[in-house]
């Protein structure tokens, strides 16, 4: 690389020039920042200003530039210089917009601005331009695991977008559960009658599609590699192994019905006249094949009355059965009741429900069933007793508040969905590391594993062979912000394996997952990060000679990007990496870094701040703010001119998980009076863009109290708060409260050392 030449640019636009003493800022950049070139401009993001910077890059050989203007989140199109290392000093949203324009405030505002100039200069000098990942994989074939409605939809949608697809189905035929349905819940206007299950059409389209290669009776024996360069071994029925090069994977492995044998009180198994929803579909299919109405399984007589028991083994508060609502069964029961009413309106059909939930356009369907004479009663079933060829259904009527019973020829149990998500890799086999156990929390694991835990993807990842699970065995996805995202880059889950859903939702989900998978393959081919740092070319590098093989990075990586090589050193798979920096934060010997984000880039900024002595009554507070939510919230606080304390200095971090505790100890040793950390919500309703990052970061920070005590400092000097992007109004308040607390302490004894 050419010789390093640094430049700082001070913008005077947007009132920066009138509110601040820019000559002093230039001085700060020249003297403290030691930049080779320092220029002011009245309007830096204008064509003229950008041309000035480009001219310096081309003719002056500038390699590192500190742009002191607005927030790094603003004017990104104008300030796009991919060939040089660049930092931004936030003088607008971070200084003048959050400070009052008064004589008293002028001095502290100016100090703030000068610090941000020095920080930007220090940061950029510690950075290099990311050269981009050299080990990219360029395979553009998609693997879809599971040939049900979701899988088939993913395959077709990807093919339509021009990508090759390998579709692997465990059973002998495509179609999954949908193929077992007599009819499906209506998908179009007027949503009044069941319609064809639609499987034949999809299967025909797949068979006619030259982009799609189908393996039936096949499973995934091994998945090795990373996005863009997966090597997948497919075990075929014959015992042979087929190998495919794959770019990205969609896991659409669907669900099984909750086992009705676990509900002995409902007489399932004791009489053939009690069936689950799949059982009724089978009866309806068989009857339709013969062109007859559905008959009573016990004696083949016509069915005169049917009772549908909703939430059988679902929404269970006792902990014995499924705790959740599967979301599809109410519509299914409505549809199945119509099977009877459409063939003979005199058949009594009663749906016993506690809450009838009809997502999508199910409300119209529900109304249509009521019009057809299906009776809906709000009641909880306690027992079903076989009674000759009939059944007695005992239930509590919730409206009339009485125990009552009904006679039925046929009882249908709506048992709900259990995801087929493979091995629970977080299940405590033998608690491996203390850190992991603590992250998992003390809450007892809910036991829902009703399927033999057989791995589906057989990943060779160090963190385990399958996708991480969230609640109830469903695979983890960023359900609040990015529902299609998972914790394995380039592998997406779609359909009921991700959360309970009906066919229509599953197809939409499958289309979304296909889109994300294509995006991931394309990004992997370019060496770029996937969401949320989409397009980022940096990737973590490790100085192996300093590594102590503690394995923290391999254990903590939220995306399972880090394996171990044969010498047990961490092996980074760049295209699996999301560039969150959790490994960097975790590393106790600080050997992991990114070209443009490292222990040094942040450390240099911390050191660049001018810390006044203890007699000046000007404390210094460091804020490490997550760039995903907290930093934008601070920017928006600026846009709304919500004022906050002039003694804080904000440094954005990629994730709270990337915060290395050395930054905090360095800051406190350097005379800062306090450190505030801002990260996303963690835990069950997490909002962390890297799913586990903020949780891991917080776990690490929970140990900081000991460090403070060791330094003889108040433990309240380090504060961690959860910030959402919507907190722009309350955040300044929290900063001010914290600043007031810090001011109540004596000045840090480390000042001036």
């Amino acid at each position: 690389m050419a010789e390093t030449k640094t430049a700082a640019y001070i913008c005077k636009g947007c009132e920066i020039g009138t509110r601040l003493d820019t000559d002093a800022l230039v001085k700060a950049a020249t003297k403290s920042g030691k930049m080779n070139i320092v220029r002011e401009h009245d309007f830096l993001c204008s064509a003229e200003g950008v041309a000035m910077i480009n001219n310096d890059i081309e003719n002056e050989g500038v390699t590192h530039a500190a742009l002191c203007a607005c927030s790094r989140r603003a004017k990104t199109e104008a300030f796009n210089f991919p060939t040089i290392a660049m930092s931004r000093g936030n003088l607008r949203e971070g200084v003048i917009w959050i400070r009052p324009d008064t004589d008293e405030a002028r001095e502290t505002t100016q100090e703030m601005a000068e610090d941000y100039v020095r920080m930007a200069c220090a940061e950029v000098k510690a950075m290099t331009v990311p050269p981009g990942n050299q080990k990219t994989g360029s395979v553009k074939t998609l693997l879809v695991v599971g040939g049900g409605m979701s899988g088939m939809t993913s395959a077709l949608e990807s093919s339509k977008a021009g990508y090759k697809v390998v579709l692997v189905e465990k059973s002998a035929a495509l179609g999954g559960w949908a193929a077992k349905l007599h009819k499906r819940v209506p998908t179009r206007e007027p949503y009044k009658a069941p319609e064809d299950n639609g499987v034949a059409d999809l299967v025909a389209r797949i068979e006619a599609d030259s982009n799609i290669k189908v393996y039936l009776n096949a499973t995934i024996a091994k998945t090795d590699g990373a996005p863009g360069r997966f090597k997948v071994e497919i075990a075929i029925e014959s015992g042979a192994i087929a190998q495919e090069d794959i770019g990205a994977i969609i896991q659409a492995t669907g669900f099984t019905l909750y086992d009705a044998n676990k509900l002995p009180e409902f007489a399932y198994g004791k009489t053939p006249n009690v069936v689950d929803q799949a059982g009724l579909e089978a009866l309806a299919k068989a009857a339709a094949a013969e062109g007859k109405p559905i008959t009573r399984p016990s004696d083949g007589q016509p069915v005169k009355s049917v009772v549908f028991v909703q939430c059988a083994g679902q929404r269970d508060a006792t902990g014995t059965h499924l705790q959740y609502c599967s979301g599809f069964c109410c519509n299914t029961s409505i549809k199945q009741a119509m099977y009877f009413k459409d063939s003979n309106p005199d058949i009594d059909t009663v749906v016993l429900f506690t809450d009838l939930r009809t997502p999508g356009n199910g409300e119209d369907f529900y109304r249509a069933a009521q019009n057809k004479g299906v009776i809906f009663s709000k009641g909880v079933v306690s027992q079903v007793t076989p009674n000759g060829n009939s059944c007695t259904v005992k239930f509590t009527d919730l409206i009339l508040n009485e125990d009552t019973e009904a006679q039925a020829d046929l009882v249908v149990l709506a048992t709900g969905m259990v995801p087929v998500s493979g091995v629970n890799i977080d299940a405590p086999v033998a608690a491996p590391a203390e850190a992991e156990a603590a992250v998992e929390g003390e809450a007892p694991k809910e036991i829902v594993a009703t399927i033999a835990p057989e791995s589906i993807l057989n990943l060779t990842y160090r963190q385990g062979p399958d996708m991480p699970q969230f609640k109830h065995g469903f695979t983890d996805s960023h359900f609040i912000c990015f529902p299609y995202e998972t914790r394995r880059t380039g592998i997406y889950t779609a359909g009921p394996v991700r959360r309970p859903m009906d066919i229509l939702q599953a197809q939409e989900d499958a289309t979304g997952a296909a889109m994300k998978a294509i995006q991931a393959m394309e990004n992997a081919g370019l060496g770029k990060a996937a969401h949320p740092r989409a397009g980022d070319l940096s990737f973590p590098t490790v100085r192996l000679e300093g590594c102590t093989q503690c394995k923290r990075c391999t254990v903590e990586c939220p995306f399972g990007a880090i394996d171990e090589d044969e010498k047990r050193f961490p092996l980074f798979n760049e295209s699996r990496c999301r560039r969150c920096g959790t490994c960097m934060g975790a590393c106790p010997v600080r050997v992991i870094s990114f070209e443009n984000y490292s222990v040094n880039t942040v450390g240099a900024q911390i050191k660049a701040v001018d810390v006044p002595d203890e007699f000046s009554e000007k404390p210094r507070i460091l804020i490490l703010a997550c760039e995903n939510d907290a930093y934008p919230a601070l920017d928006m606080a600026g846009m709304n001119h919500h004022e906050y304390d002039p003694y804080v200095r904000v440094i954005p971090v990629r994730c709270l998980g990337s915060v290395n505790t050395i930054w905090i100890t360095d800051a406190l040793n350097g005379g800062y009076d306090g450190v505030m950390l801002m990260g996303c919500k963690h835990g069950e309703d997490y909002q962390c863009h890297f799913v586990k990052g903020s949780e891991l970061g917080r776990y690490r920070l929970s140990k900081v109290g000991d460090t403070l005590k060791g330094m003889n400092l108040e433990t309240d000097r380090v504060k961690d708060i959860e910030v959402a992007i919507t907190d722009m109004a309350t955040l300044p308040q929290k900063i001010n409260e914290y600043a007031a607390l810090i001011k109540s302490f004596p000045p840090s004894p480390f000042k001036g050392f």
């Binding site: 009521q370 009776i375 809906f376 009663s377 709000k378 409206i399 009339l400």
Partner: protein
């Protein structure tokens, strides 16, 4: 009258829902209720002691085939026709009309309670209005006051004396109405003919059902 009751019970056997659907006006709406309870929650007579079964429960009882409970219920007679339930029903069920339909059906088959006050009021009102072609306020008030006997009628009249005098002074009440004088409608015969025709049409419709 109880004969009709037995006849109807026999005719529909255990299917009370069908009986209501075919016999009670607006009865076909009963099956469309989705048991949200908004009608009961919106009802201004909610806290009245006579309110044994709110509309939601009446609907549920009908669907559960509980004929006796429904026909013995007081709920439908308590309706003040405020139309809160009708306006608020997410299913657009005309709850008010259904309640009146059920009450009317119970009356028709002789199951309405004797001296039920709201039933008495509506009957008195109806008879009064159809007889004179418009409401004769003095006679209507009289018949309501003297419902429970002469003594209590006089007592009630005395209690309301000042109000009545006020109304007379303001020209809002004509004492001569007591003698069948005062305001009258323009074409009493025409109205009677209209009502007779309506009755005939309704009888035809009910015979069909």
């Amino acid at each position: 009258m109880s004969d009709i009751n037995t006849q109807m019970a026999d005719r529909y056997k255990n299917n009370f829902l069908k009986e209501i659907e075919e016999q009670a006006e607006m009865g076909e709406w009963v099956k469309m209720c989705m048991q949200c309870g908004l009608c009961s929650g919106s009802c201004p007579t909610n806290f009245h002691s006579g309110w044994d079964h709110p509309p939601q429960e009446i609907f549920m009882l009908i669907r559960a085939g509980k004929r006796e409970e429904v026909l013995n219920a007081q709920g439908m007679y308590m309706c003040t026709s405020c139309y809160n339930c009708y306006v608020r029903c997410p299913r657009k069920v005309p709850v008010t009309h259904v309640m009146h339909g059920i009450a009317e059906y119970a009356y028709r088959i002789g199951r309405a309670p004797k001296n039920q006050p709201t039933m008495h009021l509506s009957r008195t009102f109806w008879n009064n209005a159809t007889k004179y072609g418009r409401v004769n306020e003095v006679k209507l008030t009289q018949s309501l006051y003297f419902k429970d006997g002469f003594g209590s009628g006089v007592k009630k009249g005395m209690e309301m004396q000042s109000v009545a005098l006020g109304l007379v002074k303001a020209g809002r009440l004509n004492p001569l109405e007591a003698l069948g004088m005062g305001h009258k409608c323009k074409d009493l015969k025409g109205i009677h003919a209209m009502l007779a025709k309506a009755k005939e049409l309704e009888a035809q419709r009910k015979a069909k059902g």
